[in-house]
Protein backbone atom coordinates (compact mmCIF):
# COMPACT_ATOMS: atom_id res chain seq x y z
CA UNK A 1 0.00 0.00 0.00
CA UNK A 2 1.48 3.27 -1.11
CA UNK A 3 1.40 6.21 1.24
CA UNK A 4 1.00 8.77 -1.53
CA UNK A 5 -2.49 8.73 -3.03
CA UNK A 6 -3.64 10.46 -6.21
CA UNK A 7 -7.40 10.89 -6.40
CA UNK A 8 -9.00 9.74 -9.65
CA UNK A 9 -12.43 11.22 -10.21
CA UNK A 10 -12.64 10.34 -13.87
CA UNK A 11 -11.02 13.25 -15.68
CA UNK A 12 -7.79 14.03 -17.35
CA UNK A 13 -4.25 12.88 -17.45
CA UNK A 14 -3.45 11.31 -14.08
CA UNK A 15 -0.66 9.20 -15.47
CA UNK A 16 1.65 12.20 -15.75
CA UNK A 17 0.98 13.15 -12.12
CA UNK A 18 1.89 9.63 -10.99
CA UNK A 19 5.03 9.74 -13.13
CA UNK A 20 6.06 13.11 -11.69
CA UNK A 21 5.74 11.63 -8.19
CA UNK A 22 7.68 8.56 -9.30
CA UNK A 23 10.35 10.86 -10.66
CA UNK A 24 10.87 12.11 -7.10
CA UNK A 25 11.53 8.54 -6.07
CA UNK A 26 8.15 7.89 -4.46
CA UNK A 27 5.53 5.33 -5.42
CA UNK A 28 1.98 6.62 -5.67
CA UNK A 29 -1.33 4.89 -6.08
CA UNK A 30 -4.06 6.32 -8.30
CA UNK A 31 -7.47 5.54 -6.85
CA UNK A 32 -11.17 6.28 -7.03
CA UNK A 33 -11.84 4.41 -3.79
CA UNK A 34 -12.80 6.31 -0.66
CA UNK A 35 -11.24 3.70 1.65
CA UNK A 36 -7.84 4.18 -0.03
CA UNK A 37 -8.13 7.97 0.33
CA UNK A 38 -8.98 7.47 4.01
CA UNK A 39 -5.68 5.67 4.57
CA UNK A 40 -3.53 8.16 2.59
CA UNK A 41 -0.57 9.84 4.26
CA UNK A 42 -0.08 12.30 1.41
CA UNK A 43 -2.97 13.25 -0.87
CA UNK A 44 -2.85 14.77 -4.35
CA UNK A 45 -6.02 15.92 -6.12
CA UNK A 46 -5.15 16.75 -9.73
CA UNK A 47 -7.54 17.23 -12.55
CA UNK A 48 -8.87 19.08 -15.50
CA UNK A 49 -12.44 19.56 -16.60
CA UNK A 50 -15.50 21.39 -15.38
CA UNK A 51 -16.28 22.30 -11.77
CA UNK A 52 -19.77 20.81 -11.82
CA UNK A 53 -18.58 17.42 -13.13
CA UNK A 54 -15.67 17.39 -10.71
CA UNK A 55 -17.87 18.00 -7.67
CA UNK A 56 -20.48 15.52 -8.90
CA UNK A 57 -17.83 12.83 -9.36
CA UNK A 58 -16.29 13.54 -5.95
CA UNK A 59 -19.68 13.36 -4.22
CA UNK A 60 -21.04 10.37 -6.11
CA UNK A 61 -17.80 8.51 -5.53
CA UNK A 62 -18.05 9.27 -1.81
CA UNK A 63 -14.70 11.03 -2.04
CA UNK A 64 -15.62 14.52 -0.83
CA UNK A 65 -15.86 13.48 2.82
CA UNK A 66 -12.56 11.57 2.89
CA UNK A 67 -10.78 14.45 1.11
CA UNK A 68 -12.11 16.95 3.66
CA UNK A 69 -11.19 14.63 6.55
CA UNK A 70 -7.71 14.23 5.12
CA UNK A 71 -7.18 17.99 4.87
CA UNK A 72 -8.48 18.45 8.44
CA UNK A 73 -5.98 15.84 9.65
CA UNK A 74 -3.09 18.18 8.85
CA UNK A 75 -1.29 15.78 6.52
CA UNK A 76 0.29 17.17 3.33
CA UNK A 77 -2.19 17.95 0.58
CA UNK A 78 -1.48 19.09 -2.99
CA UNK A 79 -4.23 20.33 -5.33
CA UNK A 80 -3.59 20.90 -9.03
CA UNK A 81 -5.73 22.92 -11.45
CA UNK A 82 -9.31 21.68 -10.91
CA UNK A 83 -8.02 20.07 -7.73
CA UNK A 84 -7.15 23.57 -6.58
CA UNK A 85 -10.38 25.21 -7.70
CA UNK A 86 -12.45 22.56 -5.90
CA UNK A 87 -10.97 23.74 -2.58
CA UNK A 88 -12.80 27.07 -2.67
CA UNK A 89 -16.34 27.82 -1.46
CA UNK A 90 -17.95 27.79 -4.87
CA UNK A 91 -17.32 28.07 -8.60
CA UNK A 92 -19.17 30.22 -11.10
CA UNK A 93 -18.32 27.85 -13.94
CA UNK A 94 -21.60 27.02 -15.71
CA UNK A 95 -23.76 28.48 -12.94
CA UNK A 96 -23.01 28.43 -9.23
CA UNK A 97 -21.59 25.16 -7.94
CA UNK A 98 -20.73 24.56 -4.32
CA UNK A 99 -17.22 23.25 -3.84
CA UNK A 100 -15.34 21.87 -0.83
CA UNK A 101 -15.08 25.13 1.12
CA UNK A 102 -11.58 24.52 2.44
CA UNK A 103 -10.35 27.93 1.26
CA UNK A 104 -12.47 31.10 1.44
CA UNK A 105 -13.44 32.56 -1.92
CA UNK A 106 -14.84 31.67 -5.28
CA UNK A 107 -13.79 30.66 -8.79
CA UNK A 108 -14.60 33.20 -11.51
CA UNK A 109 -14.13 33.37 -15.28
CA UNK A 110 -11.59 35.56 -17.01
CA UNK A 111 -13.31 38.68 -18.39
CA UNK A 112 -14.98 38.55 -21.81
CA UNK A 113 -12.84 39.64 -24.72
CA UNK A 114 -9.75 37.81 -23.53
CA UNK A 115 -8.33 34.73 -25.25
CA UNK A 116 -9.71 31.89 -23.15
CA UNK A 117 -8.61 29.28 -22.13
CA UNK A 118 -5.43 30.77 -20.70
CA UNK A 119 -3.26 28.12 -22.30
CA UNK A 120 0.51 27.86 -22.33
CA UNK A 121 3.59 28.83 -20.33
CA UNK A 122 3.42 31.78 -17.97
CA UNK A 123 5.50 33.05 -15.08
CA UNK A 124 4.71 32.71 -11.39
CA UNK A 125 5.81 35.27 -8.79
CA UNK A 126 5.90 33.52 -5.44
CA UNK A 127 6.24 34.49 -1.82
CA UNK A 128 8.77 32.50 0.14
CA UNK A 129 7.42 28.97 0.37
CA UNK A 130 9.29 25.70 0.82
CA UNK A 131 7.66 23.96 -2.17
CA UNK A 132 9.38 26.56 -4.36
CA UNK A 133 12.81 25.96 -2.84
CA UNK A 134 15.45 25.97 -5.58
CA UNK A 135 12.96 27.23 -8.17
CA UNK A 136 13.99 30.65 -9.49
CA UNK A 137 11.54 33.52 -9.08
CA UNK A 138 9.38 34.08 -12.21
CA UNK A 139 9.93 30.57 -13.53
CA UNK A 140 7.62 29.36 -16.28
CA UNK A 141 4.83 26.87 -15.63
CA UNK A 142 2.19 25.38 -17.90
CA UNK A 143 -1.38 26.69 -17.55
CA UNK A 144 -4.61 25.39 -19.04
CA UNK A 145 -7.77 26.96 -17.60
CA UNK A 146 -10.61 29.42 -18.19
CA UNK A 147 -11.51 30.19 -14.58
CA UNK A 148 -9.39 31.64 -11.79
CA UNK A 149 -9.58 31.86 -8.01
CA UNK A 150 -10.77 34.99 -6.24
CA UNK A 151 -9.90 34.38 -2.58
CA UNK A 152 -11.60 36.26 0.25
CA UNK A 153 -8.41 36.23 2.31
CA UNK A 154 -5.21 37.60 0.77
CA UNK A 155 -3.14 35.56 3.22
CA UNK A 156 -3.84 32.34 1.33
CA UNK A 157 -2.20 33.68 -1.86
CA UNK A 158 1.29 32.23 -2.23
CA UNK A 159 1.94 32.99 -5.90
CA UNK A 160 0.52 35.20 -8.61
CA UNK A 161 0.46 35.24 -12.40
CA UNK A 162 -0.52 37.92 -14.88
CA UNK A 163 -2.47 37.18 -18.05
CA UNK A 164 -3.50 39.93 -20.48
CA UNK A 165 -3.39 42.50 -17.70
CA UNK A 166 -5.33 40.36 -15.19
CA UNK A 167 -3.34 39.39 -12.11
CA UNK A 168 -4.65 36.26 -10.42
CA UNK A 169 -3.56 33.86 -7.67
CA UNK A 170 -1.82 30.88 -9.27
CA UNK A 171 -0.60 29.28 -6.03
CA UNK A 172 -2.73 29.23 -2.88
CA UNK A 173 -2.68 27.40 0.40
CA UNK A 174 -2.31 27.48 4.14
CA UNK A 175 -1.10 25.09 6.81
CA UNK A 176 -0.85 21.63 5.22
CA UNK A 177 -2.55 22.64 1.95
CA UNK A 178 -0.74 23.81 -1.17
CA UNK A 179 -2.46 24.14 -4.53
CA UNK A 180 -1.49 25.37 -7.96
CA UNK A 181 -3.55 26.55 -10.90
CA UNK A 182 -0.81 25.44 -13.29
CA UNK A 183 0.20 21.85 -14.01
CA UNK A 184 3.60 21.16 -12.43
CA UNK A 185 3.59 17.68 -14.01
CA UNK A 186 3.58 19.40 -17.41
CA UNK A 187 6.03 22.17 -16.56
CA UNK A 188 9.33 20.49 -17.29
CA UNK A 189 12.14 20.52 -14.76
CA UNK A 190 10.79 23.26 -12.47
CA UNK A 191 7.51 21.40 -12.17
CA UNK A 192 9.27 18.18 -11.26
CA UNK A 193 11.21 20.10 -8.64
CA UNK A 194 7.95 21.33 -7.13
CA UNK A 195 6.71 17.73 -6.76
CA UNK A 196 10.06 16.71 -5.30
CA UNK A 197 9.95 19.58 -2.79
CA UNK A 198 6.39 18.75 -1.76
CA UNK A 199 7.30 15.11 -1.16
CA UNK A 200 10.54 15.99 0.60
CA UNK A 201 8.60 18.21 3.03
CA UNK A 202 6.21 15.33 3.69
CA UNK A 203 9.20 13.13 4.40
CA UNK A 204 10.85 15.68 6.71
CA UNK A 205 7.64 15.92 8.69
CA UNK A 206 7.70 12.17 9.07
CA UNK A 207 4.44 11.77 7.16
CA UNK A 208 5.95 9.33 4.70
CA UNK A 209 9.00 7.12 4.76
CA UNK A 210 12.22 7.63 2.80
CA UNK A 211 12.17 7.50 -0.99
CA UNK A 212 11.92 3.91 -2.11
CA UNK A 213 10.94 3.77 -5.75
CA UNK A 214 13.64 3.74 -8.35
CA UNK A 215 14.05 7.06 -10.07
CA UNK A 216 12.88 6.81 -13.68
Amino acid sequence: MSEVVIVDYGAGNLRSVARAVAHAGVDAVVTAEARVVERARVLIVPGVGAAEDTMTHLREGGLDGPVLDFIASGKPFLGVCMGMQALFDYSEEGGRHECLGVLPGRIVRFPQGMTVPHMGWNTVRVADHPVFEGIPQDSYFYFLHSYRPQPDEPTIVIGETEYEGVRFPSVVGRDNVIATQFHPEKSGRQGLRLYANFLRLARERGTIGPATASVA
Binding site: A11, N13, G113, W121, R189
Partner: protein, 266 residues
Protein backbone atom coordinates in the same frame (compact mmCIF):
# COMPACT_ATOMS: atom_id res chain seq x y z
CA UNK B 1 3.14 37.23 -19.27
CA UNK B 2 1.85 34.32 -21.31
CA UNK B 3 4.44 33.28 -23.85
CA UNK B 4 3.91 32.38 -27.49
CA UNK B 5 4.39 28.68 -28.12
CA UNK B 6 6.56 26.78 -30.57
CA UNK B 7 5.18 23.32 -31.25
CA UNK B 8 7.04 20.72 -33.29
CA UNK B 9 4.76 18.23 -35.03
CA UNK B 10 5.63 14.61 -35.76
CA UNK B 11 3.94 12.15 -38.05
CA UNK B 12 3.73 8.75 -36.44
CA UNK B 13 3.18 5.44 -38.21
CA UNK B 14 2.84 2.24 -36.20
CA UNK B 15 4.32 3.92 -33.14
CA UNK B 16 7.37 5.26 -34.97
CA UNK B 17 8.12 8.83 -36.01
CA UNK B 18 8.35 8.74 -39.79
CA UNK B 19 9.67 12.20 -40.55
CA UNK B 20 13.27 12.33 -39.42
CA UNK B 21 15.05 15.21 -37.83
CA UNK B 22 18.61 16.25 -38.26
CA UNK B 23 19.28 19.13 -35.90
CA UNK B 24 19.45 16.88 -32.88
CA UNK B 25 21.86 14.03 -32.51
CA UNK B 26 19.72 10.95 -32.25
CA UNK B 27 20.59 7.32 -31.99
CA UNK B 28 17.22 6.42 -33.39
CA UNK B 29 15.37 9.20 -35.20
CA UNK B 30 12.20 7.14 -35.26
CA UNK B 31 11.95 6.72 -31.53
CA UNK B 32 9.29 9.15 -30.24
CA UNK B 33 10.62 9.06 -26.69
CA UNK B 34 14.16 10.05 -27.59
CA UNK B 35 12.90 12.67 -30.00
CA UNK B 36 10.47 14.15 -27.48
CA UNK B 37 13.16 14.34 -24.80
CA UNK B 38 15.54 16.17 -27.14
CA UNK B 39 12.88 18.65 -28.22
CA UNK B 40 11.93 19.22 -24.59
CA UNK B 41 15.55 20.09 -23.78
CA UNK B 42 15.70 22.38 -26.80
CA UNK B 43 12.75 24.36 -25.43
CA UNK B 44 9.76 23.04 -27.36
CA UNK B 45 6.67 24.32 -25.55
CA UNK B 46 4.45 21.38 -26.48
CA UNK B 47 4.59 18.42 -28.81
CA UNK B 48 2.03 17.24 -31.35
CA UNK B 49 1.92 13.67 -32.58
CA UNK B 50 -0.19 12.98 -35.62
CA UNK B 51 -0.94 9.29 -36.03
CA UNK B 52 -1.05 8.35 -39.70
CA UNK B 53 -1.19 4.59 -39.12
CA UNK B 54 -3.40 3.26 -41.88
CA UNK B 55 -4.26 -0.23 -40.69
CA UNK B 56 -6.68 -0.61 -37.84
CA UNK B 57 -4.42 -3.37 -36.48
CA UNK B 58 -1.74 -0.78 -35.95
CA UNK B 59 -3.95 1.58 -33.99
CA UNK B 60 -2.94 0.17 -30.62
CA UNK B 61 0.66 1.14 -31.37
CA UNK B 62 -0.14 4.81 -30.87
CA UNK B 63 -1.43 4.21 -27.35
CA UNK B 64 1.79 2.51 -26.36
CA UNK B 65 3.75 5.32 -27.97
CA UNK B 66 1.85 8.00 -26.05
CA UNK B 67 2.40 6.14 -22.79
CA UNK B 68 6.13 5.69 -23.33
CA UNK B 69 6.55 9.34 -24.30
CA UNK B 70 4.40 10.80 -21.52
CA UNK B 71 6.25 8.68 -18.96
CA UNK B 72 9.53 10.35 -19.86
CA UNK B 73 8.70 13.85 -21.04
CA UNK B 74 6.99 16.35 -18.76
CA UNK B 75 5.65 18.89 -21.24
CA UNK B 76 2.19 18.90 -22.85
CA UNK B 77 1.43 16.33 -25.53
CA UNK B 78 -1.32 16.60 -28.10
CA UNK B 79 -2.27 13.54 -30.12
CA UNK B 80 -4.41 13.46 -33.23
CA UNK B 81 -5.20 11.24 -36.16
CA UNK B 82 -8.03 8.74 -36.35
CA UNK B 83 -9.87 10.03 -33.28
CA UNK B 84 -13.52 9.12 -33.85
CA UNK B 85 -15.22 9.02 -30.47
CA UNK B 86 -15.17 10.02 -26.84
CA UNK B 87 -13.78 6.58 -26.04
CA UNK B 88 -10.85 7.14 -28.44
CA UNK B 89 -10.20 10.41 -26.61
CA UNK B 90 -10.39 8.72 -23.22
CA UNK B 91 -7.81 6.11 -24.28
CA UNK B 92 -5.36 8.78 -25.41
CA UNK B 93 -5.83 10.88 -22.28
CA UNK B 94 -5.43 7.83 -20.05
CA UNK B 95 -2.21 6.93 -21.83
CA UNK B 96 -0.83 10.37 -20.99
CA UNK B 97 -1.94 12.76 -23.74
CA UNK B 98 -2.99 16.17 -22.44
CA UNK B 99 -4.98 17.20 -25.47
CA UNK B 100 -6.65 15.32 -28.27
CA UNK B 101 -7.06 16.69 -31.75
CA UNK B 102 -10.09 15.86 -33.92
CA UNK B 103 -10.51 16.74 -37.56
CA UNK B 104 -12.62 14.60 -39.92
CA UNK B 105 -14.74 13.10 -37.16
CA UNK B 106 -15.66 16.56 -35.90
CA UNK B 107 -17.05 17.56 -39.29
CA UNK B 108 -18.86 14.27 -39.83
CA UNK B 109 -20.27 14.13 -36.32
CA UNK B 110 -19.87 17.50 -34.57
CA UNK B 111 -21.40 16.07 -31.38
CA UNK B 112 -18.04 14.38 -30.77
CA UNK B 113 -16.70 17.83 -29.76
CA UNK B 114 -19.46 18.24 -27.17
CA UNK B 115 -18.98 14.70 -25.94
CA UNK B 116 -15.23 15.29 -25.45
CA UNK B 117 -15.68 18.74 -23.90
CA UNK B 118 -18.32 17.43 -21.52
CA UNK B 119 -16.39 14.35 -20.43
CA UNK B 120 -12.87 15.76 -20.30
CA UNK B 121 -13.20 19.55 -20.45
CA UNK B 122 -12.87 21.95 -23.37
CA UNK B 123 -9.24 22.58 -22.59
CA UNK B 124 -8.20 19.17 -23.90
CA UNK B 125 -10.26 19.22 -27.10
CA UNK B 126 -8.37 20.63 -30.09
CA UNK B 127 -10.27 20.92 -33.35
CA UNK B 128 -7.97 20.70 -36.35
CA UNK B 129 -9.11 22.46 -39.50
CA UNK B 130 -7.63 22.01 -42.96
CA UNK B 131 -8.68 25.02 -45.02
CA UNK B 132 -8.24 25.96 -48.67
CA UNK B 133 -8.82 29.34 -50.28
CA UNK B 134 -11.94 29.68 -52.39
CA UNK B 135 -11.53 31.52 -55.68
CA UNK B 136 -12.08 35.16 -54.82
CA UNK B 137 -15.11 36.90 -56.15
CA UNK B 138 -15.05 40.61 -56.86
CA UNK B 139 -16.52 42.60 -54.00
CA UNK B 140 -16.61 39.56 -51.67
CA UNK B 141 -14.19 39.03 -48.81
CA UNK B 142 -11.76 36.11 -49.12
CA UNK B 143 -13.20 32.85 -47.86
CA UNK B 144 -11.86 29.35 -47.19
CA UNK B 145 -13.37 25.89 -47.51
CA UNK B 146 -12.88 23.09 -44.97
CA UNK B 147 -11.39 19.80 -46.22
CA UNK B 148 -11.32 16.47 -44.41
CA UNK B 149 -9.58 13.10 -44.75
CA UNK B 150 -6.11 14.61 -44.75
CA UNK B 151 -7.10 17.30 -47.25
CA UNK B 152 -8.60 14.94 -49.82
CA UNK B 153 -12.30 15.63 -49.32
CA UNK B 154 -13.94 19.04 -49.79
CA UNK B 155 -16.86 19.57 -47.43
CA UNK B 156 -18.49 22.70 -48.81
CA UNK B 157 -18.24 24.17 -45.30
CA UNK B 158 -16.94 27.69 -44.78
CA UNK B 159 -13.92 27.65 -42.47
CA UNK B 160 -14.89 30.71 -40.43
CA UNK B 161 -18.42 29.48 -39.93
CA UNK B 162 -17.11 26.03 -38.96
CA UNK B 163 -14.62 27.24 -36.35
CA UNK B 164 -17.34 29.36 -34.74
CA UNK B 165 -19.50 26.27 -34.48
CA UNK B 166 -16.63 24.12 -33.22
CA UNK B 167 -15.85 26.59 -30.44
CA UNK B 168 -19.52 26.89 -29.52
CA UNK B 169 -19.63 23.11 -29.21
CA UNK B 170 -16.66 23.13 -26.86
CA UNK B 171 -13.37 23.23 -28.75
CA UNK B 172 -10.72 24.72 -26.45
CA UNK B 173 -8.14 25.35 -29.13
CA UNK B 174 -7.93 25.37 -32.95
CA UNK B 175 -5.15 23.93 -35.06
CA UNK B 176 -5.46 25.73 -38.38
CA UNK B 177 -3.62 24.38 -41.41
CA UNK B 178 -3.67 26.18 -44.73
CA UNK B 179 -3.64 23.69 -47.58
CA UNK B 180 -2.48 26.44 -49.91
CA UNK B 181 0.69 27.21 -48.00
CA UNK B 182 1.40 23.81 -46.39
CA UNK B 183 4.63 22.26 -47.62
CA UNK B 184 5.83 25.37 -49.47
CA UNK B 185 7.90 26.87 -46.63
CA UNK B 186 6.86 30.23 -47.95
CA UNK B 187 4.94 31.51 -44.93
CA UNK B 188 1.62 30.82 -43.23
CA UNK B 189 -1.70 32.03 -44.68
CA UNK B 190 -1.87 35.15 -42.53
CA UNK B 191 -5.28 36.26 -43.78
CA UNK B 192 -6.77 32.89 -42.80
CA UNK B 193 -5.16 33.01 -39.36
CA UNK B 194 -6.31 36.56 -38.76
CA UNK B 195 -9.88 35.82 -39.90
CA UNK B 196 -10.08 32.83 -37.55
CA UNK B 197 -8.39 34.41 -34.55
CA UNK B 198 -10.75 37.38 -34.87
CA UNK B 199 -13.76 35.07 -35.09
CA UNK B 200 -13.16 33.07 -31.90
CA UNK B 201 -11.73 33.67 -28.44
CA UNK B 202 -9.88 30.36 -28.05
CA UNK B 203 -6.15 30.10 -28.87
CA UNK B 204 -5.22 29.42 -32.49
CA UNK B 205 -2.24 27.30 -33.51
CA UNK B 206 -0.88 28.27 -36.93
CA UNK B 207 0.18 25.46 -39.23
CA UNK B 208 1.37 25.10 -42.79
CA UNK B 209 4.06 27.07 -44.49
CA UNK B 210 6.83 27.85 -42.00
CA UNK B 211 10.19 28.14 -43.73
CA UNK B 212 11.89 31.18 -42.23
CA UNK B 213 11.93 32.70 -38.74
CA UNK B 214 9.99 35.74 -39.92
CA UNK B 215 7.13 33.45 -40.96
CA UNK B 216 6.70 32.46 -37.33
CA UNK B 217 6.84 36.09 -36.27
CA UNK B 218 4.20 37.07 -38.83
CA UNK B 219 1.81 34.29 -37.75
CA UNK B 220 2.16 35.30 -34.09
CA UNK B 221 1.61 39.00 -34.78
CA UNK B 222 -0.27 39.74 -38.01
CA UNK B 223 -1.99 36.34 -37.91
CA UNK B 224 -2.98 36.66 -34.26
CA UNK B 225 -1.90 33.10 -33.48
CA UNK B 226 -1.04 31.97 -29.94
CA UNK B 227 1.29 29.25 -31.16
CA UNK B 228 3.12 28.11 -34.25
CA UNK B 229 3.32 24.49 -35.31
CA UNK B 230 5.93 23.34 -37.74
CA UNK B 231 7.54 20.20 -39.04
CA UNK B 232 9.88 20.82 -41.96
CA UNK B 233 11.64 23.85 -40.49
CA UNK B 234 12.90 21.57 -37.71
CA UNK B 235 13.11 18.30 -39.58
CA UNK B 236 15.44 19.68 -42.22
CA UNK B 237 17.58 21.23 -39.54
CA UNK B 238 17.41 24.68 -41.00
CA UNK B 239 16.75 26.42 -37.67
CA UNK B 240 16.68 24.99 -34.19
CA UNK B 241 14.21 25.98 -31.50
CA UNK B 242 16.63 27.96 -29.28
CA UNK B 243 17.58 30.06 -32.32
CA UNK B 244 13.94 30.67 -33.25
CA UNK B 245 13.03 31.57 -29.67
CA UNK B 246 15.88 34.05 -29.43
CA UNK B 247 14.87 35.53 -32.79
CA UNK B 248 11.24 35.97 -31.73
CA UNK B 249 12.22 37.30 -28.29
CA UNK B 250 14.61 39.80 -29.89
CA UNK B 251 11.71 41.04 -31.98
CA UNK B 252 9.69 41.68 -28.83
CA UNK B 253 7.54 38.57 -28.49
CA UNK B 254 7.18 36.90 -25.08
CA UNK B 255 8.96 33.54 -25.33
CA UNK B 256 9.93 30.96 -22.74
CA UNK B 257 13.70 30.58 -22.98
CA UNK B 258 15.02 27.10 -23.67
CA UNK B 259 15.64 25.58 -20.27
CA UNK B 260 19.37 24.95 -20.29
CA UNK B 261 19.39 24.08 -16.63
CA UNK B 262 19.52 20.35 -16.05
CA UNK B 263 19.93 19.96 -12.31
CA UNK B 264 16.99 17.59 -12.36
CA UNK B 265 17.74 14.76 -14.73
CA UNK B 266 14.81 13.88 -16.96
Amino acid sequence: MLTKRIIPCFDVDNGRVVKGVSFVELRDAGDPVELAAKYDLAGADELVFLDITASSDGRASVYDMIARTADQVFIPLTVGGGVRSGDDMRMMLEMGADKVSVNTAAIERPEVIEEGAHRFGSQCIVVAVDAKRRPSTAGQPQSWEVYTHGGRTPTGRDAIEWVREAVKRGAGELLVTSMDTDGHQDGYDLALLRAISDAVEVPVIASGGAGEPEHLYDALTEGGAAAVLAASIFHFGKYDIPFLKRYLADRGLPMRPADAESAVEV
